[in-house]
């Protein structure tokens, strides 16, 4: 695993707030959803950073803000030494080539009216990476890389199974030779046996092309499998960040512990103590004061309701935001 590699991406206190407006003609703001509220982390070259959390915790929004598919409200994203939020559109397009995204639902993210060949060729043409017959050669090469055959070029998305469609999505992301790929729940919609194929493919591609992944998912066993480090998000904030084995062996934040204990394990001999969290995730429109987790935390003390815990390195390379540590 790359320990002394250069930092590829640095995210500093990144925020994304969505205003909530009321009224049709005389609109006024009635609130703000703090989808991402101050997250900071680094991703090294060739590393896989896992981002986990429940639905609504802001993990997908974080991915989109990093790529500037959504404009950040505050904070900075430094990719290859360049600050992404301030870039003019022309420059942004150039840098977008090096960062790509794979989406959860491959059926919704592939244009049903374009053949697979056209779809993979499009980014190659836009970025001028190849011309004329070279384009087709490149598309065939990419299809081969993701385990599809060149005959698939003329087919349309509906002719593929879910796993094959996800392969097309991966081929399209690879077409522009990116450095960073943000994968937003890439295997959640797939059957177990197909899921393993796609995960293996992603690992192979990483080794072959030196890719860096940010892997967003809610399935902790998948995230543990693929990631070098894992960040756990809760209501727009990162509550814990550590190496994958450290996080699973020695979770410091009570939320991480609850999340880990909630996973059903496919082993009848492993009976574990389960921490069942009461209630639902609070609304991000009106997050609780102090530590955001205190409403569901069984260790909550007075200080947790008043002061927000600082996100700090508790041990070497193991970060957590909790008053208990």
């Amino acid at each position: 695993m790359p320990d002394n590699q250069a930092v590829l991406l640095e995210v500093k206190d990144l925020k994304k707030h969505f205003p909530v407006n009321k009224g049709i003609i005389f609109t006024h703001q009635v609130g703000v959803v703090k989808a991402v509220d101050g997250i900071s982390f680094e991703v090294k070259q060739g590393e896989t950073l896992g981002l986990v959390g429940e639905s609504g915790c802001g993990k997908s929004t974080a991915g989109r803000v990093i790529l500037r598919l959504l404009e950040p409200s505050a904070g900075d994203v430094i990719f290859l030494g360049v600050s992404v939020p301030g870039l003019p559109v022309q420059e942004l397009r150039k840098i977008r080539r090096t960062m790509q995204m794979i989406f959860q639902d491959p059926y919704a993210s592939l244009n049903p009216r374009m053949s697979v060949g056209e779809m993979i060729a499009e980014p190659i043409k836009i970025h001028g990476l190849a011309k004329g017959p070279e384009v087709e050669k490149r598309v065939k090469e990419l299809l081969h890389v993701v385990g599809l055959s060149p005959q698939h070029m003329g087919r349309y998305p509906h002719e593929f199974s879910g796993g094959q469609r996800q392969r097309v999505g991966i081929a399209r992301a690879l077409a522009v030779e990116p450095k960073l790929i943000i994968c937003d729940e890439p295997v959640s919609a797939l059957d177990v046996s197909i899921q393993a194929q796609v995960i293996n493919l992603m690992e192979d591609l990483q080794a072959e092309f030196g890719l860096t992944y940010i892997f967003i998912a809610h399935d902790l066993s998948v995230v543990k499998h693929i990631s070098d480090r894992v960040a756990v998000m809760y209501l727009g904030k990162i509550v814990e960040l550590a190496r994958y084995d450290e996080l699973y062996k020695n979770p410091l934040h009570p939320y991480t512990r609850a999340l880990l204990s909630a996973i059903p394990v496919p082993d009848t001999r492993a009976r574990r103590e389960r921490i069942v969290l009461a209630g639902d995730v609070p609304s991000p429109l009106n997050p609780p004061p102090g530590c955001r987790f205190h409403t569901r935390c069984s260790y909550a003390k007075d200080i947790c309701c008043r002061e927000e815990p600082e996100f700090r390195a508790v041990q070497d390379g193991h970060w957590a935001a909790c008053h208990l540590n």
Partner: protein, 323 residues
């Protein structure tokens, strides 16, 4: 061991389409005892949901038709019952919860009204009483402030609460059998843990038998006593949960277990996926349906589909390796 509450024998549900006959369920056998939990696992398209719908006789017809087999519930074959009587069984003796609670709750009626409707219909209660029972059910499934909540609409509930409301509705007439079709797939792990806990409690308190359809082997290991593994409409393995997880026999079951990332695995290892993809039900290969993906295939696998047999008294496998 109690007597069998539900016995399904040689069930065949086929769909007659323009493209040909699709054998969605093709000869499924299993039984559920009172207070028992059976898990049905398999990939999408393996016929798990159609099996459940067949039991309630809810398969859309045409194109679907149950062409053979028996579904014996409390000693009576449901396939011979007139529609009138089936209506008395659905929601009363056998009830079902679905994967997506938002599409199975009616958005324009209050949650309480939808639960009360079931109670009024099956238990002949007055409206007032039915509403009281409805809020009592909501209380039982762990919804705070049930009287107020009963007056709210589905969109005012969160995903986990909607699923709780569905369970409350399904259990309002104390059914003997609860069919849960992917009840936690759309939910977060922490909410899933709550719902699973709730189902275990209900099973223990009311002795309801549960038939749980899922693709999550973890959920099966935690909740079920027996497991039926299906592939392309056919049962491939059927045994006690313990035997399935510790002594799996069929190459498909073996493959499924090997392809899962393990949480307690130390260090990095490579996943072992099942190569290829599930066959097209419209165009099944000759012989065993799993043959194209199987790593143990023999010449006869391409010729004949395997007969199922019991290797141990409680362990059914359909594979040529064991013949």
């Amino acid at each position: 061991m109690g007597e069998a509450l539900l016995q399904v024998r040689e069930l065949k549900t086929h769909f007659f389409t323009d493209l040909g006959v699709i054998k969605a369920v093709d000869g499924v056998d299993f039984s559920i005892e009172r207070g028992d939990t059976l898990g049905i696992v398999g990939e999408s398209g393996s016929g798990k949901s159609i099996t459940a719908l067949s039991i309630l006789r809810l398969v859309p017809s045409p194109p679907g038709k149950i062409i053979g087999g028996e579904i014996v519930f409390k000693g009576e074959n449901l396939l011979h019952k007139p529609e009138e009587e089936m209506r008395k069984i659905r929601g009363n003796e056998i009830s079902m919860i679905f994967q997506d609670p938002m599409t199975s709750l009616n958005p324009v009626f209050q949650v309480g009204a939808q639960i009360a409707e079931v109670i009024m219909l099956h238990q002949k209660k007055r409206k007032r009483e039915a509403w009281d029972l409805a809020s009592e059910m909501l209380h039982k499934v762990g919804i705070a402030d049930p009287v107020q909540r009963a007056k709210e609409y589905p969109h005012q509930f969160s995903g986990g609460m909607r699923q709780r409301a569905m369970i409350a509705m399904a259990l309002s007439c104390s059914p003997k059998l609860l069919i849960a079709d992917e009840p936690t797939t759309a939910l977060d792990v922490t909410i899933q843990a709550q719902i699973l806990e709730l189902m275990v409690q209900l099973k223990e308190n009311y002795g309801t038998a549960i038939m749980l359809i899922t693709h999550d082997l973890g959920v099966v290991a935690e909740l079920c006593k027996k497991v039926l593994v299906m592939y392309a409409g056919k049962p491939v393995e059927y045994a006690e949960t313990d035997s399935i997880f510790n002594r799996p026999k069929h190459p498909y079951t073996l493959g499924l277990l090997a392809s899962l990332p393990k949480l307690d695995q130390v260090g990095k290892h490579r996943l072992e996926p099942i190569e290829g993809s599930p066959p097209d039900l419209n165009n099944l290969p000759k012989g065993c349906s799993f043959v194209s993906r199987c790593s143990h295939k023999k010449p006869e696998c391409f010729k004949f589909s395997p007969f199922g047999r019991y290797l141990e008294p409680e362990h059914y496998v359909a594979c040529h390796l064991y013949n």
